[in-house]
């Protein structure tokens, strides 16, 4: 005799995948709204200046977004690296000597924050907590013929290393050793243009009183120049590309994703595959839009922990979590395999 639970129709893999994706989108949207909830900024074309701005947010979230309540870790990293170039030194009355400021600052606060978050969950941040990731996810949903959705292309793999180049050159070397400029934010970051520049310049133009300190509008489109055109072009290119390629910014450009990727293999939150259950059907590889084969590298640098592979696995052989889960023995088995 069938029990009530058994008679309940089982969800298909497709239904499970859709439910997982919906849940993830909800978490992404809730976190993005939470960290960008300074409504006054959107109404007046200004930015939040309260004490919460001392705290970094885990994702790519420009601090010049009108709604931003926290600081972008990549912007903050460059700001601290630039610090030595602003300070002029001081006179020490005790020793009657002029003390020169340190030439280079190590960003203890921001690096410490990134180590904490990275060691806890690695690129789970990219999959669940990044507002720019959410924007790309939504754009990728725009329907185009299936042929036009590009999963991979010649040069895809080498291009993935580009984000490490942007991290080393634009975020670390140039701001630290060359001049006081946030190079990545200034010349590349599409997030600053999209969620900072466009709303601020638009609201500023609409409401006037630019730069008057009246709290209404701190910039406008009248200030747009060559840099605006360059940043608009980069932003438009990446957003249009997001229709055809899943998360191009995260795959090829994002220095924050590059930092978190180093933690994927050692973070507390980890993926593992139960070799005893896995039939190597390839469903997980096919489901992964980041191009990761989870059966070979469960903690790949490219994995954003979205959970698509886990939902697609018909054998329930993929396990994700912070600790050992004995229910399906996945993690225990991974320990043996490794």
């Amino acid at each position: 005799m069938e029990t009530k639970a058994n008679s309940k129709p089982k969800k298909t893999i497709m239904q499970v995948r859709k439910a997982v994706e919906r849940k993830r989108l909800l978490i992404q949207a809730a976190f993005s709204i939470l960290t960008n909830s300074y409504i006054v900024g959107f109404l007046k074309g200004t930015i939040y200046t309260g004490s919460l701005k001392q705290i970094c947010v885990p994702g790519m979230n420009c601090y010049s977004c009108p709604g931003a309540l926290g600081a972008c870790p990549i912007g903050a990293l460059q700001a601290v690296f630039n610090q030595g170039k602003y300070e002029k030194g001081w006179f020490d009355a005790k020793s009657s000597t002029f003390v020169a400021p340190p030439m280079y600052y190590f960003a203890f606060y921001v690096v410490g924050f990134l180590m904490l978050v990275g060691a806890l969950c690695g690129r789970l941040v990219c999959g669940f907590l990044c507002p720019f990731g959410l924007i790309q996810d939504l754009i990728y949903k725009i329907p185009v013929p299936k042929k036009m959705k590009i999963r991979t292309f010649p040069g895809d793999k080498p291009l993935r290393y580009l984000k490490y180049f942007f991290l080393v050159v634009f975020v670390i070397i140039l701001p630290l050793f060359y001049e006081a400029n946030p190079f990545f934010c200034k010349y590349i970051c599409p997030s600053g243009m999209l969620i900072g520049g466009i709303p601020l310049m638009t609201f500023g133009s609409l409401f006037g009183n630019i730069g008057q300190g009246t709290g209404t509008g701190i910039t406008s489109w009248a200030e747009a120049g060559n840099l605006t055109i360059l940043k608009l072009a980069i932003m438009t290119f990446l957003l249009v590309l997001s229709i055809f390629i899943y998360r191009p910014f995260c795959k090829y450009v994002c220095p924050l994703g590059a930092i978190y990727s180093f933690f994927n293999r050692i973070s507390l939150y980890r993926y593992s595959v139960d070799e005893a259950k896995c039939t190597h059907c390839g469903a997980c590889k096919h489901a992964c839009r980041m191009g990761v084969d989870i059966t070979k590298t469960p903690n790949s640098l490219e994995c954003i922990r979205c959970g698509d592979c886990k939902a697609a696995c018909p054998q329930h052989a993929i396990c994700a979590g912070f600790g050992k889960k004995k229910a399906n023995g996945a993690n225990a088995n991974a320990d043996k395999v490794a």
């Binding site: 930015i47 600081a71 960003a107 410490g112 904490l116 060691a119 900072g196 747009a224 608009l232």
Partner: protein, 63 residues
């Protein structure tokens, strides 16, 4: 089928083994927390704050 199974590289980080699975991230988190606290008391947090509360002209594409 057995051949297919054999060709699959069964590898992941060796740190998946035993206690290291937890010790390594815990040590990194402890160092990170130490850096974070040092940065707060060293005044680095002020540099972050002063940059974050002013309009970043470079970030928004006008500076």
């Amino acid at each position: 089928m057995a051949n297919i199974k054999e060709t699959v590289v069964k590898k992941d980080c060796p740190l998946d083994r035993g206690a290291l699975r937890y010790i390594v991230p815990a040590v990194i988190m402890a160092i990170g927390a130490g850096f974070l606290i040092y940065g707060i008391f060293d005044g680095e947090i002020n540099a972050v704050f002063s940059k974050a509360i002013a309009l970043c002209r470079e970030c928004v594409g006008i500076g």
